[in-house]
Point group: C2
Chain length 112, copies 2
């Protein structure tokens, strides 16, 4: 994320990455572009954030990975969400809604 968008809400970046993967297999570099596109340029995920995160998601069994040849010939590492990953995504979405709702309630109390 950009500095100003640092520190997402509960499980923030992991949730966004899992959300991307729930739409289909993807490789790291592609996730950065996709996230930027789908957020209309708001989220600029850094490589130094993404790659270590993917490794820990893999270690936790939320995603699986495989190496494959791109049509271009370059090797890419494709990630796929697991069933556990889907469950984790749903849980994080729930938490996000609670969190965002609470922020809204506090802000609403200050501009009536």
């Amino acid at each position: 994320m950009k500095k100003t968008d640092r520190a997402a809400a509960p499980g923030g970046t992991a949730m966004l990455v899992l959300a991307l993967l729930s739409t289909g297999e993807m490789y790291g570099y592609q996730m950065i572009e996709e996230l930027e596109r789908r957020s209309e340029r708001v989220f600029q995920l850094q490589e130094g954030t993404l790659y270590p995160l993917l490794h820990s998601l893999e270690k936790d069994g939320l995603v699986t990975a495989r190496n494959a040849q791109a049509p271009s010939g370059r090797t890419r590492r494709y990630y796929r969400i697991t069933t556990a990953g889907q469950r984790a995504l749903e849980e994080k979405e729930r938490e996000w809604r609670v969190y965002a709702g609470a922020v809204h309630a506090v802000l609403a109390g200050c501009t009536p």
Copy 2:
């Protein structure tokens, strides 16, 4: 915040504290209770988070503080938001809306 709600979105906790103060003067301990109440138990601000934060908000001129006797006799440190603090709050609210909107857009793209 509770561990699960760690790391709020852009300027998260500062925004919430400024939002509280925009409704009137308040002392630290009270902010913890008020935030918990207004968020319906979602946000449990920790003292170790709040007090250093208040000091840095004061240093940045976003709030001012004064000591005063409570009816009980105990001394409290009351905080008041400044004009610069109001401006900062508005800016943080704008950022929050952009951020939350982007999260929504990404999540919407995964459960059509």
